[in-house]
């Protein structure tokens, strides 16, 4: 009967005056990193609207870089003022967590974004069209490929400078994603960074058909997966009566302080919890590209404009793993014994499939895509260690991996032939003879991917394997080692054909990049080597950042 009464109280206006709605107080300082980026994005749109076309490019690039730098500075400021550790807190009415992992990952994402912007802004690689320098984005996204409109756009020297604000929106979403502290924010953030990425994927200047196809696939599958995630959210809500991580965690672990009796009656159905949790995890696994939710990766990586691919491969992984970590460590630790075995399966399959399928790839970008799948497997091994060192190792791995990836894709943009980037491996034959430097740099990245000592890849791999072993997952270590051995094979293959096969006369040319891309690659190399030789400082950082607030 009481049940009916409460329902009644929901929508019938009671006689007495409604309680005053007190306005929420937002900790703007703690949210600054995100706010800066969003603000800049909005400004960027304005610039598109009002600035003359010639001025836009420079304005946008400057704005974006400044905004991202500022955001990064804000992150550092917060971390420095202790928000990463003792002053870690929940902000924005429980929507966001400001704690170590969040700040660490936000910082990483900001940096990744900055480097990506450099590659986005590169205009030296493609030959100038009608005297206008062009970047790797379509003159006019809406124009049909090869159609009259496009030709006119090219002639007029249009460039899609919208990519910069779009990028900023995506970054904003990514900054929120790992910090999201309730399922609603999680979902919104997911969409906020996914939708811009769908658009970016479609904007390649060359091979637009592939680009558009990639966009379509990414969009459909992405929407599909987020629908699953959303349904999972719904079920979890149904289970716990709340969508805040803390609240759900309480229900899971069964210690309830502030639950009104009405909800208490209808919640706690474990089926909802398990299914809901599985669906949400699935949504995140899709983003990190874990098997069997990885199938979009090769196609999208291949079709998307290479700078975008680099950005996606690096930043999306960081954001998604951040969210996954928080979900597993904050919301579902009570369920460890339920999801861990399942995740074991996912980890093993991911590592092996990624490594094995990559062996026979013939396109650099697809190769890197599969390698990213394998790496997702390695990182997951650290994720499910469920030890503090597990968290820090994952954070470190993400930092290391994202810069290697950025660098690698940046190098890919340099190797070109008549049809734009020459991504087919047969075109890379003898690269080492034509331009040893570029080949050597790429070799460094490949070795880092392969986890050769003295590169960041090795430090990261050791960190996660160590965590896994401590977490009692020795089997995963062994499988991971086996997978690395298989993976080594195809990285080596690339090196072989770069260096020791005689270059073909119609081989590719290596475009001489402007300072932008050069900087991006240089940063990639430096980070790779530094994290490989002297990782201790960053390990400490990750170690301190390794505690979630709840």
């Amino acid at each position: 009967m009481s049940h009916v009464a409460t329902v009644h109280s929901l929508w019938t206006i009671s006689a007495d005056a409604p309680a005053a709605i007190l306005a929420p107080d937002i900790e703007y300082m703690q949210l600054l990193p995100v706010l800066i980026v969003i603000g800049a994005a909005v400004v960027g749109i304005m610039l598109e609207a009002f600035l003359p076309r010639r001025a836009r490019y420079y304005a946008q690039v400057m704005l974006t870089l400044v905004a991202l730098a500022a955001s990064f500075a804000a992150v550092v400021g917060l971390a420095a003022s202790g928000h990463a550790t003792e002053k870690a807190q929940i902000a924005g009415m429980g929507a966001l967590a400001v704690d170590g992992p969040a700040l660490f990952l936000q910082g990483t994402i900001a940096l990744v974004a900055i480097v990506s912007v450099l590659t986005f802004a590169e205009r030296r690689l493609d030959p100038a069209a009608h005297g206008n320098r062009v970047d790797s984005f379509a003159a006019q996204g809406a124009a049909t490929p090869g159609g009259v409109a496009e030709q006119q756009a090219v002639k007029a020297g249009f460039t899609t400078t919208e990519v910069f604000p779009i990028l900023l929106f995506a970054v904003a979403g990514m900054l929120v994603f790992p910090a999201a502290n309730d399922l609603l924010t999680l979902f919104i953030a997911l969409e906020v960074f996914s939708l811009p990425l769908y658009v970016l994927c479609a904007l390649a200047r060359r091979q637009r058909l592939l680009s558009q196809e990639a966009a379509l696939k990414y969009f459909l599958l992405g929407a599909f997966s987020s629908a699953f995630l959303l349904f999972g959210v719904a079920l979890l809500y149904g289970y716990a009566g709340t969508v805040t991580y803390g609240g759900i965690a309480e229900v899971v672990s069964g210690d309830l302080q502030r639950v009104d009796p009405a909800v208490a009656a209808t919640m706690g159905n474990d089926a909802l919890l398990l299914i809901g949790g599985a669906l949400v995890i699935m949504g995140l696994l899709f983003k990190v590209g874990a098997v069997p939710f990885h199938m979009w990766t090769p196609d999208v990586y291949q079709g998307a404009p290479t700078p975008v691919t680099g950005f996606m491969a690096a930043a999306t992984k960081v954001a998604a793993f951040g969210a996954l970590l928080r979900l597993l460590y904050v919301v579902l630790p009570g369920l460890r014994w339920d999801w861990r075995p399942v995740m074991w399966g996912v980890v093993i399959v991911t590592m092996l499939v990624g490594a094995i399928v990559a062996v026979t790839q013939t396109d650099v970008k697809r190769l890197l895509a599969y390698s990213s799948v394998a790496h997702a497997g390695f990182i997951l091994a650290g994720v499910i260690a469920t030890t503090p060192s597990g968290i820090s190792s994952v954070l470190f791995y993400l930092l290391a991996y994202s810069f290697v990836t950025l660098g690698a894709f940046a190098v890919v943009t340099l190797v070109r032939d008549a049809g734009g980037e020459a991504t087919h491996l047969s075109k890379w034959v003898g690269l080492g003879r034509r331009s040893p430097l570029v080949a050597a740099v790429f070799a460094v990245f490949l070795l880092a991917f392969a986890g050769i000592p003295l590169t960041s890849g090795f430090a990261g791999k050791f960190a996660v394997f160590k965590a896994a072993a401590e977490g009692g997952a020795g089997t995963l270590v062994v499988v991971g080692v086996a997978a690395s051995a298989i993976a080594a094979f195809f990285y080596i293959r690339v090196i072989v054909l770069m260096f020791w096969n005689e270059p073909k006369p119609e081989g590719p040319t290596v475009a001489v990049p402007s300072a932008l891309t050069s900087t991006a690659i240089a940063i990639g190399v430096v980070v790779t080597v530094v994290l490989g030789v002297a990782p201790q400082y960053f390990l400490d950082l990750a170690g301190q950042a390794g505690v979630f607030v709840r």
Partner: protein, 541 residues
């Protein structure tokens, strides 16, 4: 804080490598001289290390220890025991000869030198830079007393080796240049994948070791000293199965490197396809890291497991001895023949290590040094021969001694060293190994003794087919050894003779280290059945 001698010794070639690589394309010759100078300077430093090492002193000397990666429990810890000192000496000693022998191996053919990519493409600089880089890494891994530090360089040295093998194969190939390139990259990839796979298995074991130490000591560590101490005080008690698994992880990696049958098949390809100096680098220097590591890490970290695995390992070793020799007899290619001979010799080394007797292990250590020198002598001279005819096939030679007696002579001495003739260094070590093995495992020892007959067979057959008999057509103009080549062969042979008659300087350094190792595994030499009074009297005085 004393002067970091070991670090400097290892760093010098590394710096030299970078400097060499930086020499512009025009200054090829300068690069060569620079590399030679650096390698000689390193030799001097190594000499200092050897001199400063006091056989009577602590187990590890010239130690350095700095924090490095605390999170992984990794410290930058260096230190040499007698074995390490000897092998560092060997490495530093061989590199100058390798550089000198490879003087012309990486010259750009004039055809390429002219064209535009000659501008950026600087194989000569690369060749010598890579050699020096390998030297640096090898020295570090001989000096590392931290398992992780060792592992890092143990793995990292694969990369420069990989480029040396694949990038600079000898031009002496039967078929076309394309074919040669194929063979080369096959060999290089095989080398890398074999060793990388071994290394990754070891990585798993390294992680396991960390987990074990972290679990029992509170904080994970890789420091040999720390682990030994913890083991002694009983803090660290590895469960039997854990220890065995970890041991296997380590041993597999070393067995691939060393190479032990049946993990050996990468060696003939690698040595066959690479130039003679690089082949020497592989078999005389880099592979020694494997056997050295068995001695220091397998026995040092996992004594029980080592004794547990001994029987199997000994059988594999003796198989390598015989198998390698038999295959060497059947080879048609000079360098592959020497490669299989090396496999046979590595069998001896492993046998000596796991015989767990002081003779065996001292012998094994001497063997590493002597085999390095003798193989270098034989292989480098063979390289000179090959470079003259441009073929590796034994059948393409004959009667060389008529036109190039000095070449033939040095080749013969190298060969005799390989079949371990008394008076030349390898005899000492081989006999020690045999005695050491025999005194604990008579059957194994006797079977291995067959190896000395087979060795005579493959060496003398090689010499007969290439050097004696009527002169093969096309060799009439073959020049004898040039001055540079004599400068390579001469000292090596002198060294072989000296160490053959007076190995004392080496044994003095090695013996204490071996005693330490034996005490690690808690083994003592078997006592003779009849303690002869006269002998005891001798021992007394």
């Amino acid at each position: 804080m004393s002067f970091p001698l070991l670090t400097v010794t290892a760093a010098l070639p590394a710096v030299g490598a970078i400097a060499t690589a930086a020499v512009p394309a025009a200054g090829r010759v300068a690069a060569k001289w620079l590399a030679l100078a650096v390698s000689l300077a390193t030799l001097v430093l190594a000499g200092v290390v050897f001199a400063r090492f006091d056989p009577g002193g602590d187990r590890y000397q010239l130690t350095e220890s700095h924090a490095w990666i605390a999170d992984f429990g990794v410290r930058y810890e260096l230190g040499v025991d007698g074995i390490g000192a000897a092998l560092i000496g060997l490495t530093a000693l061989l590199i100058p000869f390798i550089v000198l022998a490879g003087w012309r191996d990486a010259d750009v053919p004039d055809a390429e030198a002219g064209d535009t990519r000659g501008r950026r493409w600087r194989p000569t600089q690369g060749f010598f830079a890579l050699i020096l880089m390998v030297e640096a890494m090898v020295i570090i891994s001989f000096a590392a007393t931290d398992v992780f530090l060792f592992y890092i360089f143990f793995e990292a040295m694969l990369i420069p080796m990989y480029f040396l093998i694949g990038g600079f194969g000898d031009r002496a190939h039967a078929s076309s240049e394309d074919e040669a390139a194929k063979q080369r990259s096959y060999a290089a990839v095989k080398f890398l994948l074999y060793n990388l796979a071994g290394g990754l298995i070891m990585l798993a074991a390294v992680v396991g070791l960390y987990a074990a130490t972290a679990d029992q000591l509170g904080e994970g560590t890789f420091s040999l000293a720390r682990i030994a101490e913890a083991r002694a005080s009983g803090e660290l008690e590895l469960a039997t199965n854990t220890e065995r698994l970890l041991f296997l992880g380590f041993f597999l990696a070393f067995a691939v490197k060393a190479p032990l049958w049946p993990l050996h098949t990468w060696l003939p390809n690698a040595m066959g396809e690479s130039t003679a100096p690089v082949a020497v680098l592989i078999t005389a220097v880099v592979d020694k890291v494997g056997t050295f590591a068995m001695l220091r890490f397998c026995l040092g970290l996992f004594p029980e497991a080592s004794s547990w695995a001994t029987p199997v390992i000994l059988v594999l070793a003796v198989i390598s001895v015989i198998y390698g020799a038999l295959l060497a007899i059947a080879q048609r290619d000079i360098k592959r023949l020497i490669a299989y001979a090396s496999i046979s010799h590595f069998g001896f080394i492993v046998m000596g290590i796991f015989a767990m007797t002081s003779q065996g292990q001292s012998g094994a250590t001497l063997y590493m040094v002597n085999h390095g020198i003798s193989t270098a002598a034989l292989l480098l001279v063979a390289g000179f021969l090959i470079s003259r005819r441009g073929s590796r096939l034994i059948a393409d030679y004959g009667g060389v001694q008529k036109v190039a007696p000095v070449l033939a002579g040095t080749f013969l001495v190298g060969g005799l060293a390989t079949l371990s003739l008394p008076g030349l260094a390898p005899f000492v070590s081989e006999f020690l190994v045999l005695v050491g093995t025999f005194s604990r495992y008579p059957v194994i020892g006797i079977v291995a003794t067959l190896g000395i007959v087979l060795a005579a067979l493959y060496v003398l057959v090689l010499y007969q087919r290439t050097m004696t008999g009527p002169l093969k057509a096309g060799l009439e103009k073959m020049p004898d050894l040039r001055l540079r080549e004599l400068a390579v062969a001469g000292p090596l042979i002198a060294l072989l003779l000296f160490l053959g008659f007076y190995p004392k300087p080496l044994t003095d350094v090695v013996n204490p280290a071996v005693e330490h190792t034996l005490s690690d595994v808690e083994k003592t030499d078997p006592k003779p059945d009849v303690p002869v009074t006269a002998h005891d009297a001798e021992a007394a005085k």
